[in-house]
Symmetry: C2
Subunit: 391 residues, 2 copies
């Protein structure tokens, strides 16, 4: 807990999440970059920023790859090393990890890390197909299963092993929509009731329409530097004190358990050890609720409760804004939206706001330590980071 | 020149480049990984390797993204952080840069870096379309121009500015096919004459069929560690002493010059300065000859000759195996083949063989310092690395 931070965040930006008809990916990202620059007026972006890492999942959406160089140009940074990282929905979590490597390497004192996805101009069928590329082609996609089905298999396993109920799972949606109603940048800003979730149509049993996160356009970014340089740029840095990333088999069929994500457990262990922190010391977390059930699994894999007790944890209300450990105060992927490449650094953006007392209506009181968990696909990638406020 | 190396290469592997009908990307990569492990028998891969970075350009070829986790699994490394980097044809050059950051960061003492692409199961029209995603959608792709056209524009500009001839450009193909004939892992292992090149059909004037690199399946990888740990693993490490990466506008239409690549110049300057090396000290180089003309531009941008003199340099024979500065002794992208994601670390593989005296028939005598230049698309990414033999 008293260890030296790895790196410090000196600025962050996020576009409104939602439907951005007529904007290109590059234009959306420029909006996020512009906010990050405005939050760090002492930074001279073109002079100071030495590398860019961009999480971007799909080239199919705009028939456009080679994203990072393009975004460097649109953010006014043309010339700097610019690298796209792709780890499915964990793409910008992986970008953050890469940015941390770069700052620690000594080759780049200040780096920008971000993510972006433009999805809503495609049909739901197209998006479902593009997303499916993050699962196993020969043994999953080929047989017609897509992500709702893969997470439904995991939910079913959890229900079987622990007695988790559809109602408990639905409560994640109710909570996150409540949080989203307090976030002016969330895609969906209205509360829903448990009846709305329970009566929505099944997508893949036991997951219903309101158990699924949103197809959203959005961009997010943060600016990192060495802890010893942070004060040069801002009085309110947020420090990253732990970082873990792990992989797992791409196919569910090769895993020992479907009720937890091994990659999250490995990444969390690494991040907790590096930060010298225990799960009980986390004040708030942004976790990867691509489906409501995934949040329940995250509670357990991150150590917020014991295995099998995730359903009870959400039921207890303790993960609400004013609970013991608020989870997804941003609204999460469920209500804020899930522009896949942007999600990892959007989690970091929320924690940056919270740990600098800028989260307004959804501010968590006395929040000192935050955690983000970003996963790729059905968990073949997991990235966990731990954050600490300046004072 | 006497500066401490950034990192050291302790093993390298490469699949045969060519047509691998029936193999998946992951299987091809496992072949390269297996060779790298066998070249470094003291390494315990599962225990020692702490991160994997994979250059992979296109998810469209196999409808498969999330590549790095999958390859980690197939290489026997499941669990470690695994990140795909994409910078078009410079994807594994960018992966190498990311791997260097990781080793220097202190978070990962030993990392694997590689790249892979499986292309030949697709039609030429499909491959052309997938590759085009690395150029600008709204202002290039949309209007029907693909990569042969973009490089033809650059070649035309060079011919106009400097009087470079089609025959000079064709000589790059003749040289690289000669080198490829000496490389048992090259896709094309036969010599060609200048008449073959000159009489082949135009793809995009002035570039003809034999000016284009090959659509190829292949994988490559290297294993990096800290210089101070290298001797623990091998008596023959190869050191990386300079690294540069840069970006440029994705569209040609925004650039000041079409006769050179600004990103190569920036990346080369950074790498030379870091290594404290001048271009004259380079003993051999692997450069990005996606089209023959690109090699001529590379000579100039890397400082092997003055601007405009690249045509004369190839004509002089000095870039042949026994010349003053042998270029693309592997056969280059032109004859060895260009499985796009694999190309960057395949260049490094060749330099590793050369600088450990394992290049057999194409061994460059007394080679001490090597350079690789890997570009993405039409040059919106460039990555340059400089290598030094152990003794």
């Amino acid at each position: 807990m008293n260890r030296k931070p790895l790196v410090s965040i000196i600025g962050a930006g996020m576009s409104k999440f939602g439907k951005h008809t007529g904007l290109l990916t590059r234009e959306l990202f420029a909006e996020a970059a512009s906010e990050a620059f405005s939050r760090c007026p002492k930074l001279q972006p073109k002079k100071d920023i030495k590398a860019l890492f961009i999480g971007h999942m799909g080239e199919a959406y705009e028939h456009q790859g080679h994203t990072a160089s393009t975004l460097a140009d649109w953010a006014g940074l043309v010339g700097i090393p610019a690298t796209r990282t792709e780890a499915a929905c964990g793409s910008s979590g992986a970008a953050l990890r890469s940015g941390i490597y770069a700052v620690l390497s000594g080759l780049a004192d200040v780096v920008m890390v971000g993510g972006v996805e433009k999805m809503t101009h495609r049909t739901t069928a197209e998006v479902t197909e593009y997303l499916a590329m993050a699962s196993d082609y020969p043994f999953e996609q080929f047989h017609g299963i897509t992500f709702p089905g893969l997470f439904a298999l995991m939910a079913t396993s959890h229900m079987h092993n622990y007695g988790t109920t559809e109602e408990q799972i639905a409560k994640v949606a109710v909570k996150n929509h409540y949080h989203g109603s307090l976030n002016p940048k969330a895609h969906m800003q209205k509360e829903i009731t448990i009846e709305t979730v329970m009566s929505s149509r099944y997508v893949a049993w036991p997951l219903k329409l309101y158990d699924c996160s949103l197809i959203t356009d959005g961009a997010s970014c943060i600016i990192l530097t060495k802890p010893e340089l942070a004060q040069k740029y801002t009085d309110q840095p947020v420090h990253i004190i732990g970082s873990g990333q792990a992989s797992d088999t791409i196919g569910l069929y090769e895993r020992k358990s479907l009720s937890s994500l091994q990659a999250t457990k490995i990444a969390a262990k690494a991040a907790y050890e590096m930060a010298d922190i225990k799960p009980e010391q986390i004040d708030l977390a942004e976790v990867h609720d691509c489906f409501t059930f995934a949040e329940i699994m995250a509670y357990e894999d991150l150590g917020f409760c014991r295995p099998g007790e995730g359903g009870k944890l959400v039921e207890s209300g303790e993960t609400y804004l004013n609970g013991r450990i608020p989870v997804n105060t941003s609204g999460g992927l469920k209500a804020k939206g899930h522009p896949v490449g942007a999600t990892g650094t959007a989690q970091t953006y929320e924690l940056y706001l919270q740990l600098t007392d800028q989260a307004e209506k959804r501010q968590v009181k006395d929040a000192k330590i935050g955690l983000s968990q970003n996963i790729g696909g059905s968990g073949a990638t997991a990235v966990v980071h731990i954050y600490r406020r300046e004072k």
